[in-house]
């Protein structure tokens, strides 16, 4: 079996991943999923349902807010932008990740060193 990212694991980080994309500017569903794929170097593609669930969760938690936009061709899209609370949350998750990387790394990179 080829090496693959554990989907259970990545699901725990999808929220800050989306916040990271939104830090670069407000965006909408498919564009966010494209950015995630790009940033991951094609190693991870988020499914529509996972992405939508994350948006709903983030909005419920006040970390993003949605607003409607109509494109030039008339297509209606739901856009999301990060909120100040979202920025704080993202920074907290970044600190948590550094700590996680440090601790787990002691076991996974040169076992017990």
């Amino acid at each position: 079996m080829p090496d693959e990212i554990s989907s259970d694991f990545i699901r725990g980080y999808i929220d800050p991943m989306i916040l990271c994309v939104l830090l670069q500017g407000p965006s909408y569903g498919y564009e966010v999923s494209k950015r995630i794929r790009q940033i991951s170097g094609d190693l991870y593609m988020v499914k529509e349902t996972t992405l939508y669930s994350a948006f709903a969760r983030l909005e419920k938690g006040g970390l993003v807010e949605s607003f409607p936009q109509v494109a030039e061709n008339g297509k209606r899209r739901t856009y999301y932008r990060i909120t100040p609370a979202g920025i704080d949350h993202y920074q907290a998750r970044c600190r948590e990740w550094k700590l996680t990387k440090d601790v787990v790394g002691r076991f996974m990179e040169g076992c017990g060193a």
Binding site: Y28, G29, Y30, E31, S33, M45, K47, E48, T49, T50, L51, Y52, S53, A54, F55, A56, R57, K60, K75, R76, R77, T78
Partner: protein, 279 residues
């Protein structure tokens, strides 16, 4: 895009109809539309693009959980519902009995059929009103029918699709389905793009036959799918009133999605059990 819309409709029709769920459907539709447009712009044929998008859709239960809705369990058995069901079953039995006893004219189309199919086909479409549908693999394509009076049975290959249709012709109420079996044998060498099989009254039994897209369902009866390779398939199982048994284990009823493969396997029963056993 119609395939995608139909797919979304079918997934969402089984979920509780709240404003949040409608919003989810709307936005998921937006995402899928954008993705579809991009795949087409990259030169992918429409059918392939639709297939790819449907296969990568994911699990609708995840959406419900994030909205704080517990995925809908099988309908609860209120006493009133049980009484209604029992009365309904008694009524159906009475009508069936009358129909059986009361059959007057012999239907010229009824009777047994056991035919070899000479033309090649890449799709199978079976539609039955009352009777069991069995689809299995074999050396040569065949269609057989052990029927009853007051039913009609037709089959033909048209544009690469094997159509098999069984209906009841008697107007004297619902025909009982005992002993009525429609069997389709698909050559083991065939590569099918789709299998559709549905019966209103009776079971569906799919044994060891695979297609890029499979959709088997029954309104009143059990649906069995066995000896299929599910390692590269997205399996969607759904029961309204019955059990789901996957590889010998009972799974929570309602709608269950397993796997994210390219091949789509949809199995549903309104009033009956769904049993799936992989290869």
């Amino acid at each position: 895009m119609d395939d995608i819309r139909d797919f979304l409709e079918s997934v969402f029709s089984k979920l509780p109809q709240t404003p949040e769920v409608h919003r989810a459907k709307d936005e998921l539709g937006q995402m899928m539309e954008d993705k579809y447009a991009e795949l087409l712009a990259q030169g992918m044929p429409e059918k392939d693009a639709a297939k790819a998008i449907i296969a990568e859709f994911g699990n609708p239960d995840e959406v419900l959980e994030s909205l704080g809705v517990t995925p809908q369990p099988a309908r609860k058995w209120h006493p009133g519902r049980i009484v209604a069901l029992v009365l309904g079953v008694i009524a159906v039995c009475c009508v069936c009995w009358v129909a059986f006893c009361g059959r007057a004219e012999a239907d010229p189309h009824a009777g047994n059929v056991d035919a070899t199919i000479a033309e090649d086909f890449s799709s199978v479409d079976v539609s039955a009103a009352c009777g069991d549908v069995v689809i299995k693999s074999g050396d040569v394509a065949r269609v057989s029918y052990s029927g009853a009076a007051n039913t009609s049975f037709e089959y033909e290959v048209q544009d690469g699709v094997l159509h098999v249709t069984q209906t009841q012709t008697s107007s004297a109420g619902t025909q009982a389905s005992d002993g009525i079996v429609i069997t389709v044998v698909v050559p083991s060498t065939a590569e099918l793009s789709s299998i559709d099989a549905t019966t209103q009254l009776g079971g569906v039994d799919l044994q060891g036959v695979e297609a890029a897209r499979t959709d088997v369902s029954s309104q009143m009866g059990d649906v069995d799918v066995r000896d299929v390779d599910l390692s590269n398939a997205t399996l969607r199982l759904s029961v309204d009133m019955g059990e789901i048994i996957l590889d010998g284990n009972e799974v929570s009823p309602g709608t269950v999605v397993r796997g994210t493969g390219e091949r789509i396997v949809d199995v549903s029963a309104e009033m009956g059990d769904v049993t799936v056993t992989a290869l």
